[in-house]
Symmetry: C2
């Protein structure tokens, strides 16, 4: 390839949403802390964390990755063992692939909630596992739905599933299912449980042992103020960990499912740098404040009569899904049609509702605080007023 | 987990090698360019690149990831198709896993060069593939060694391998095998060839089609001045790409082997930001300058009579492996024993030879330039003089 002036287009690209209020659920809890931003600069170069490699990423003592992975992280997750991974999906795949490749026979399956994230499904698919999902509920997923799904699976496949997966909260409505009961049901069938905590770990208190789950995964770039791609994986019980983190036959420190080393660069350093603040913000009293702010925001919108919250109400999470009849009405008459909302919000420097959405959208209030939340709610209301919807 | 003052240890950690001359082969070509450093700050937050997601990472138009992945990258690699991955190992695993899971029967294997990197072996192991390696050669791996290994495999398994893998250059000696001949031999058996270019892509000119290989893999954090984890994967031929990048049954834009999206964060932006410089530095005339500098450095050391280069000589790469009899002699009498060399180099602010190594070590001269290379060679010589070895 010839050196080419055209390539300059890749060289410096501004992120034009950087000074916006971002309400995209993907973004609110992924914002770097100041400490993480410093870490990013300090550790930006290539394989920087490998300067003092002890044979594998999680054994590195300087920087103190080993201390983080072997002590701080399992304590935080409420697990016996933990690893830093490339993300939540890579963690789910590692668990499923490990279970699938050590299963006694083939044609296995996983039971998942009806709202499982696409990445859970693709992880199963990649691991060669079929999927049985709970039925789509009216409002929220109940433990009985899992019981039914497991029974359906046993009937269809003539054997129990390899794994039960619960999305906690689900990524559409921000509903928190009864994880303890669901885990107990799964364990009655002697089936391990994986909690997909992509929207929980780093935002709210979680403890795998208290929940009674066997595996917990989190997403660093989504909910732990880390630079992507990075995630966390915790395991309860020695046997499960030994199987999942089995060592290579070719190299006695490298773990097969981790391909030896995972997040070998600055992202793991940002995860560590933000960790003290993440631990702080997930203290029960701090999470309660977030839930309180989320509820206040919901209430303010619902009072207009033009917004309806889907899912659990009173709501227990910052991720929320609205039906917005007023915005929909406007989209039918506005010049830019269904893109009007995106444009109006852009004028107000609010980003995060996908262009073209009006009637239904999800958003997150995480970490924004009272003032910005008031500004967002007022902006929504102003837009409705501008188009004579209220 | 209680918020705890102890956690402050993770918050700001200095990289004490940052102002050192780093000759660790892992580090020399992973140093960020200025443009990449700017990109890191601009795109540091969590999932920043997903603000304008079009359904999958490689389809994102803003920033121009799609343009990069679908146009610039395949042209650079000399392939028909390319993707950005989490690293070289993840790319190798994706290829092997895809081939293994769509193979007609089980018990398959891969043929690899004797010096294959552990991550190639672990990737095969994770994909459930056995490995046949070429015999360890006296000096360098010859095409006949691959012929023999394939024949050995066919004899042992009663069928041809799923894949032939060549490490180019190998990660120990920096030898460049005759890739064209090796690819041709593999193709005579109708076996596709993967080129592990972790130390080639981004350092030197490569072109998969000219080489005649089917897959090429590169490491962003190792050789493309990108922040880890990130890598590149190129594929020649539509059929191979269709199989490898097959879409999910659950989601029509998400690719199964990529788990939907790979390097979803700032690392991909650093890869793109450095790309113009990487294209420039891999132009044949610029790579020739690097090789010239490497040879000059080797010559200066060999002239002392105390260093012997392993592998191809004249050498064709910046990665080199020495036997240093003089350093070894010193280690037998120095107070700090075999750690003396590490200490002496630290005093001179040179990092990258593993603590404890003296007799044999590898290093890289990439991107250091004449002045620093002279300083390193002179430092080696000074140390020998200090301990009366010359
Ligand atoms: C519920 C849920 N699970 C998992 C993921 C994937 O997270 P990661 O990018 O860390 O793989 C997401 C990402 O959007 C999600 O919303
Ligand atoms: C020859 C070789 N191949 C592959 C790799 C792995 O690269 P990555 O970290 O991108 O997976 C390395 C890393 O040291 C290597 O030296």
């Amino acid at each position: 390839m010839a050196a080419n002036n055209n390539l300059q287009m890749f060289q410096f690209i501004k992120r034009d949403t950087r000074d916006f209020i971002n309400i995209d659920p993907l973004q609110t809890a992924g914002l770097l802390t100041d400490a993480a931003r410093d870490a990013l600069i300090e550790w930006g170069d290539g394989y920087s964390v490998c300067d003092y490699c002890n044979g594998a990423l999680d054994l590195v003592k300087k920087p103190p990755i080993q201390e983080f992975v072997y002590k701080a992280l399992p304590e935080f997750l409420g697990t016996d063992t933990a690893r830093v991974m490339n993300g939540a999906r890579e963690s789910k795949f590692a668990v499923m692939h490990s279970l699938a490749s050590t299963a006694a026979d083939k044609n296995n399956y996983v039971v998942m909630d009806a709202w499982a994230h696409y990445s859970s499904k693709v992880a199963a698919e990649r691991a060669g596992l079929e999927i049985v999902q709970t039925e789509k509920p009216e409002k929220e997923i109940m433990p009985e739905d899992f019981l039914k799904a497991i029974e359906t699976g046993i009937e269809k496949y003539g054997k129990k599933p390899l794994l039960t997966l619960l999305t906690y909260p689900d990524g559409s409505y921000g509903n928190l299912a009864d994880v303890k009961k669901i885990a107990a049901i799964s364990h009655e069938f002697d089936v391990p449980v994986l909690l997909n905590g992509a929207y929980a770990v780093g935002r709210m208190p979680v403890n795998a042992k208290e929940f009674g789950v066997d595996y917990i995964v989190g997403s660093g770039h989504k909910s732990m103020s880390a630079c992507g791609p990075v995630g966390v994986l915790g395991v309860v019980g020695d046997e499960a960990a030994e199987q999942l983190f089995r060592k290579s036959a070719y190299n006695k420190v490298k773990e097969v499912e981790l391909l030896g080393c995972t997040s070998r660069g600055a992202p793991i350093m940002t995860l560590m740098a933000s960790f003290p603040e993440v631990v702080e913000r997930t203290q029960p009293e701090n999470w309660e404040k977030e839930v309180h702010l989320a509820r206040g925001f919901i209430q303010k919108l619902e009072e207009t009569g033009k917004f309806k919250l889907f899912g659990q109400n009173p709501h227990n999470h910052d991720l929320m899904f609205f039906e917005a009849a007023g915005f929909f009405n406007i989209s039918e008459k506005a010049k830019r049609g269904r893109y009007f909302l995106y444009d109006e919000l852009k004028d107000k420097k609010i980003h995060g509702i996908k262009p073209g959405l009006t009637k239904n959208f999800k958003m997150s209030t995480y970490g924004l605080g009272q003032e910005k939340l008031d500004f967002i709610a007022d902006s929504f209301i102003d837009i409705l007023k501008k188009y004579d919807e209220i």
